[in-house]
Symmetry: C2
Subunit: 407 residues, 2 copies
C-alpha cells in the first residue's frame, strides 16, 4: 500500500465539481458533487442520534435497499435536520434534479448536508447548483480538492487522503475526503466522509469492511461530545480497476481493509486535529487494559474531558485531570497501578507511577505539551488490550465559534 496525492477523484472513473451556490455562506463554495462513470456498489454508516437529518434517512434507504449509487450531492451551510416532511422532499427534489440534468436515476443519487439545524434548504439554489456543476465534472485532483473545500463548515482546511494497493495484479485506488469540525463525537463519527474506490467487490463485503472499520477510526474521535444529526460515511466502489470481484474474505479483502483502515484513520485524525478552535491534535493511547472495550472507554473518557482538553490548550501538565477522567469512565482499574506518560515530537516523559506523581521536570512537560500533536499514554497494567482515541484541545476559539455560530 502506498499513499498518493488526491482524494475522491483519485480512483478511476470518479469525477467531481464544486460551486458557490449561496446556500448560506457568502464568497465561498458550498456545494459539491461526486460522480462515477459507472454505477457503484454503495455502503454507508450513519449517525446513531435519534434525531436523524433528512439526508441520513434518504441515504440509508438507498444504501440498504438499492445498494447502488452513482452520484453524491453535498451542501454545507444548512444541515437539513429537524426539517420535517419538507426536508425529506428536498432530498427527493435534489435527486430528481440530478436525474434531469445528469441522467442518473434519482434512486441512485445520495445526498448529504452539514450546517445549521432547523432551517430549510433554499431548494432553488440547490437545483441551480446541480445545473451549474453538471458540465464542470472533472476527474482531476484539483476537482477533488475543490469538492473537499466546498463541504467545509468551520474546518480550517480541507481533508483528503488517497492510497494505492494491488489486488489480483491490478492497481486499486481508494481515496476520500471529509469535513469536521464541531458536533464531533463517536457514534458514529459526527462528520461527513466520502470514500471512493475503483475496486470490484461484492456489496455485502463492501458494507462489512466499512462497518468493521468505523468503531476503531471515526468512532474514536471526539471534538466536543456532541453526536450530530447528520453523521454520514459513504463508500462507493465502481469496479473500474478491473480486478476479479472480491466475494470472499481472502488476502485481497484483507488488503482492502488495510487500505480502508489507513484512509479512515488519517481522515479521522485530520478531523480531530482540526476540531473547532483546536490548536493541537490530542491523542490518548490506553495500553495493557483488561479488555478492548475497557481500553476504548478509558481512552475516550480522557479525550472527551473538558478539563483535560483545557489543560492541553494551556500546555499544563495537570495530570490529575487525566486520572480523574480515567476514574469516572465507568471502567474498573486500580489507580495505584496506573502509569502515565506524556509524549510528542519533543520527547516522552513519565509523570505518574505507583499511585503518586514522579519527580518529573515541569519545564520538560510543558515543552512536550507545546507541540501541535500531543499524546497521553495510560498504562493500566491489567491485560493486553489497547485502544487509541483522538481529539483536540479546548480553546477560546471553540467558544467564539459556537457562541454565535449562526451569524
Amino acid at each position: 500500500m502506498e499513499k498518493i496525492q488526491g482524494g475522491v477523484t483519485a480512483a478511476k472513473g470518479f469525477l467531481a465539481a464544486a460551486t458557490a451556490a449561496g446556500i448560506k455562506y457568502k464568497d465561498r463554495t458550498d456545494m459539491a458533487i461526486i460522480y462515477s462513470e459507472k454505477p457503484c456498489r454503495a455502503a454507508g454508516t450513519f449517525t446513531t442520534n435519534v434525531v436523524k437529518a433528512a439526508p441520513v434517512l434518504w441515504d440509508r434507504r438507498i444504501t440498504e435497499e438499492v445498494g447502488q449509487a452513482q452520484v453524491v450531492v453535498v451542501n454545507s451551510g444548512i444541515a437539513n435536520a429537524c426539517t420535517g416532511e419538507e426536508g425529506l422532499r428536498y432530498c427527493q427534489e435534489t435527486s430528481a434534479e440530478v436525474e434531469k440534468t445528469i441522467g442518473v436515476p434519482a434512486n441512485q443519487v445520495l445526498v448529504a448536508s452539514t450546517g445549521v439545524i432547523g432551517m430549510q434548504l433554499p431548494i432553488d439554489r440547490i437545483r441551480t447548483g446541480v445545473q451549474t456543476m453538471a458540465p464542470m465534472l472533472n476527474g482531476s485532483l484539483e476537482a477533488g480538492n475543490a469538492a473537499a473545500k466546498a463541504i467545509m463548515t468551520t474546518d480550517t482546511h480541507e481533508k483528503e487522503v488517497a492510497v494505492q494497493f494491488e489486488v489480483d495484479g491490478k492497481t486499486v485506488t481508494l481515496g476520500g475526503m471529509c469535513k469536521g469540525s464541531g458536533m464531533i463525537h463517536p457514534n458514529m463519527c459526527t462528520m461527513l466522509a466520502f470514500l471512493t474506490t475503483d475496486l470490484a467487490i461484492s456489496e455485502e463485503l463492501l458494507f462489512e469492511a466499512l462497518r468493521a472499520d468505523i468503531p476503531d477510526t471515526y468512532n474514536m474521535i471526539s471534538v466536543d461530545g456532541d453526536t450530530s444529526t447528520n453523521d454520514t460515511v459513504l463508500l462507493l466502489a465502481n469496479g473500474m480497476a478491473g480486478n476479479a470481484e472480491i466475494t470472499e474474505k481472502n488476502a485481497d479483502y484483507e488488503e482492502f481493509c488495510k487500505a480502508l483502515r489507513f484512509v479512515n484513520t488519517e481522515l479521522a485524525k485530520m478531523m480531530a486535529g482540526d476540531g473547532e478552535g483546536a490548536t493541537a491534535l490530542f491523542e490518548v493511547k490506553v495500553i495493557h487494559a483488561r479488555t478492548k472495550k475497557d481500553a476504548k472507554i478509558l481512552s475516550k473518557s480522557v479525550v472527551c474531558s473538558s478539563l483535560t482538553k483545557a489543560m492541553i490548550f494551556g500546555h499544563d501538565a495537570n495530570f490529575g485531570r487525566i486520572l480523574c477522567a480515567l476514574g469516572y469512565s465507568g471502567a474498573q482499574f486500580d489507580p495505584e497501578q496506573v502509569e502515565l506518560h506524556f509524549e510528542s515530537a519533543a520527547g516522552k516523559l513519565l509523570i505518574f507511577k505507583d499511585g503518586v506523581a514522579v519527580d518529573y521536570s515541569e519545564e520538560e512537560a510543558t515543552r512536550i505539551l507545546s507541540e501541535p500533536a500531543v499524546t497521553v499514554i495510560a498504562d493500566m497494567k491489567m491485560g493486553d488490550a489497547e485502544a487509541t482515541a483522538w481529539g483536540c484541545d479546548l480553546s477560546y476559539d471553540y467558544i467564539k465559534i459556537n457562541a454565535d455560530y449562526r451569524s
Copy 2:
C-alpha cells in the same frame, strides 16, 4: 418550612471558624472547621469515580463504620487525591491534631479537601491551621459565612442556605454550605457540601434521607462533565432541637426530607449557576417523558452539551443543538412530537413543534436568552415523567480558568 439566614452555623450547637493557612492560595482563607457541641449522627455520600481522594476514603469509613462525628476539617487549594499512602496518612494526622487540640476523638473527625490533584498537602500548615481555628470556633452566622468563603476554589461567591421547620412541637434548623465550581458532573455531585441540623433522627433514616435526595439534586447538575475524585456531601445531625428522635418514616420524616430537598436544590443551583466562567444558570426541564429515567437522561444530555452551553453564552436561539442533544442522549422518542420552549424572567417562547421550527421572533428569543437564568423546556409528549437538570453556559472564562489552573 421557612427559609432563614445562615449556613452551617444556623442549627443549634454548630460552631465554625476559618483561617488563611497558606495551603496554596495567598492572601485569602483556605481552611475551615465545623464543630458540633454534641456528637452527631453523620451520613455521607461520595464520588463514584474509581479514583477516590484520600479524604473520601477516610470519611466513607467514618460515616459507614463509626456513624458518628463531631468535627469536619476542610481545606481548599489541594485536593489530596492521587497522593497514595502519604495522602491517607495526612487525613489521619489532621484528625489526630483535632483530637489533641479540641479533644474530639480522631475517629469522629471528618476531613475534606478540594483543589489540585496529585500534590501532597503541607501537613504542618494544616496542623497549624487547626491550632489557629480551635479558639476561634463560634456559632455566629458570620463564622458560618467565613467557613463558606474559605472552602471556595474558583467559585466567585460563597454558597449558603438554611431553613427552619417544626417537628414534634420543636423548631428544627437545617443549614448548609457548598463549593463548586469546576469538575462538576453528576455521580455524585462533584463538589463539597456540608449540611448541619439540630434534628434528632436515627442514623439509618439520616442516611436514607440523604441518599434518596442526591439523585434529584446534586446529581442533576453539571458544569463540565468531569466527575471529580473528591465529591462529598456530609450531613451532621446533633439532636439539639430536642424533638423526640425520628425513627420511622412518618410525617416528621417527610418534613425533614422536604427541608433537605429545598436546601440541596438551592445549593445545587448555586453551584451550577456559579460554574467556572458561567454567565448564566442554565435549567433544562424535560416534561411528559416516558419514564423518570428517560426524563433525567434527556435533561442531563442537554445541560451537558458543549454546543448548547456555548449557544446559551451567545444568547443565540440555535435550538437544533437542543434537539441534537436530546437525540444522542440514549433515550428513545419521536422527534416529530417534541415541543421546545425557551423561558426566563423575560418571558416564554415556543420555538419548535411538529418536527419543524415555528415562526418565532429571533429578537424575542435573544431577549429571553440574555437573562442570568435561562430555562429550556422540552415536552416529549410521551408520558407523565419529568426531571430538571441544572448547568451553566460555556464561556471564554471557562477556558481561561482551566487552561492554567495550577499557576
